[in-house]
């Protein structure tokens, strides 16, 4: 009886040790991930600046950074897994929607519709995304290292006020510019008759996507404003991701 009691407490200690090791591993991985992402978006920012300074134009700028952009934006899918396994305390759905909308812009608009790659609106959302992501990932990094400089916290909770509407403008203008080319080429579309008895019109789909910004954008924006109030002017609580 005594030995089984001992075994019980040894097992408990082992479990606690396992939990501590797991969370130390998780923290180490998340720190590495966020440092890597900060670095990636910094590289993109520098590349864009250099391009513009050297060439004096934004023509060809997207082409020059497109591979880096595709890589780092796609890798962000990992963040959905972080939420799913509980490493990060955020809703899987919220993160999923955010990452998917980025992936949609990168792969299904800018990458697929080459004629709009030199639009100014593309540069607009690229700049916004870069600034936002560098702020966001460095915020997470410093948080994990328990050493958050106030200016990073300030940036995270204030820049969005301007960045968010600018980003939305860049994205919407880009999709709008792409519409005539989508219509002409009939890309990603399927017409009747076919053996699956389904049809899909990418042009109409894009219009619906644009319209969906109308209800979604204010909701997200006001949610972030509320978070900002809580964090900067209220009681400081455990950081919740937006």
């Amino acid at each position: 009886m005594a030995s089984s009691e001992e075994d019980g407490s040894v097992e408990e200690k082992e479990n606690n040790n396992k939990k501590r090791t797991k969370s130390a591993l998780a923290t180490a991985w998340l720190t590495f991930y966020n440092i890597a992402m900060t670095a990636g978006w910094l590289v993109m920012a520098v590349a864009m600046l250099r391009f513009y300074i050297q060439r004096g134009t934004h023509m060809g700028l997207y082409r020059s950074i497109s591979r880096t952009l595709k890589f780092f934006q796609t890798v962000a899918l990992i963040e959905v897994i972080h939420c799913a396994v509980g490493m990060v305390r955020t809703s899987v759905i919220v993160t999923g929607v955010q990452v998917c909308s980025r992936i949609f812009m990168v792969w299904f608009i800018t990458n697929s519709i080459k004629q709009i790659q030199n639009e100014e609106s593309v540069v607009l959302f690229l700049v916004v995304w870069t600034v936002t992501e560098i702020t966001r990932y460095s915020f997470y990094t410093f948080n994990l290292l328990n050493h958050l400089p106030y200016f990073i916290k300030w940036a995270r909770y204030n820049m969005f006020i301007v960045m968010y509407p600018l980003g939305v403008a860049g994205e919407l203008l880009t999709i709008y510019a792409a519409l005539p080319y989508v219509r002409k080429s009939g890309m990603f579309s399927m017409r009747l008759p076919n053996k699956y008895n389904v049809s899909f019109d990418y042009y109409i789909f894009l219009i619906i996507v644009m319209l969906s910004y109308i209800p979604l954008f204010p909701q997200l924006y006001f949610h972030m404003l509320r978070q900002r109030k809580k964090v900067l002017h209220g009681v400081v609580i455990v950081e919740k991701d937006e």
Partner: protein, 308 residues
């Protein structure tokens, strides 16, 4: 007989909302809810959640005052569940929609397809068969709602009716549009495919109905008791040996049959989404069975034998 005093506080603000004195010890929560409703007419009993602890579980209407862990002055906390609507109303609305909407597409009502097709019918016999099956399915559901099902809860939140109707009506319109389209392509393997699909569909419809009857017979009229369902003399119920929620299993089977019969991708999507939702429900039901009954048969899976 000692009478109780009952005070009801708001669960969030802790304000005193109501004070009832001279309450019978054998009064039920349901009766207390009626009394509370009298002093606050906007909160009808169905939208009241009464609990012992502000963050605790809701008490049941059948719970008796003197059997609860309260003193002679009982304190309850109230939470407003929001506007409620009866389950029967929701079911009837969400099922009547697909029935009528599909028929509108089948009869090619104007403004759906090109004007030259208005009020024509498809030249493919499988399209007529599909209309009969789809309509039969929803008529069956409506009749079951009226005459077969015994609901545990009387009501659900009002916003559910908008959510549910969007789902059912939206998918019905999407499926019906393609099946009844002038450019519809009939199944690749022709009569063989349709016949096989029809057999599966009918088999699962009968199965689903048998399960609904079996579940109804577990529960005497007006009661809310829960019992373990077991196979009966009806062979369609023998699936209870392997599955906790065979009504969902048969439902999946019906829609798989309909998908194969119509060879229509939107139908496949509807089947998949429905399957995901039913699996979530089946797992929940399976878990509550296991929690409530010590002797629950271990061989059973929630929805798919041995698999899920």
């Amino acid at each position: 007989m000692k009478h109780y005093e009952v005070e009801i506080l708001d669960a969030k603000t802790k304000d005193k909302l109501c004070f009832l004195d001279k309450v019978e010890p054998n009064a039920t929560i349901g009766e207390i809810k009626s009394m509370f409703h009298k002093s606050h007419p906007q909160w009808y009993p169905a939208r009241q959640s009464i609990r012992l602890d502000p963050k605790g579980k809701s008490l049941k209407d059948e719970d008796i005052l003197q059997q609860l862990p309260v003193g002679t002055t009982a304190t309850f906390y109230f939470r407003d569940l929001g506007a409620q609507i009866s389950w029967v109303t929701v079911f009837l609305t969400e099922y009547a929609g697909p029935l009528l909407i599909y028929l509108m597409f089948y009869f090619r009502v104007p403004f759906i397809y090109a004007p030259k097709y208005d009020f024509t019918t498809s030249k493919h016999w499988v399209v007529h068969l599909a209309c009969m099956c789809h309509s039969f399915h929803y008529v069956k559901r409506l009749l079951e709602t009226l005459f077969v099902h015994r609901f545990s809860h009387g009501t659900m939140p009002l916003r559910n009716i908008f959510k549910n109707c969007t789902y059912y009506w939206g998918f019905a319109a999407w499926m019906a549009y393609y099946i009844n389209h002038p450019l519809y392509t009939p199944p690749i393997y022709g009569e063989q495919q349709v016949r096989m699909a029809l057999i599966i569909f009918l088999f699962c419809q009968i199965g689903n109905f048998s399960i609904h009857i079996a579940l109804r017979n577990l529960r005497p009229p007006g009661s809310k008791t829960r019992k373990i369902p077991y196979p009966t003399k009806n062979p369609f119920t023998w699936i209870f040996l392997l599955v906790s929620c065979p009504n969902y299993t048969y439902e999946l089977g019906s829609w798989l049959g309909f998908t194969v019969m119509t060879q229509c991708l939107p139908v496949a999507f509807f089947t998949i989404v429905g399957f995901v939702q039913m699996t979530v429900w089946a797992k929940g039901k399976h878990r509550s069975y296991l929690k409530e009954f010590r002797d629950y048969p271990p061989l059973r899976s929630p929805i798919l034998p041995f698999v899920l």
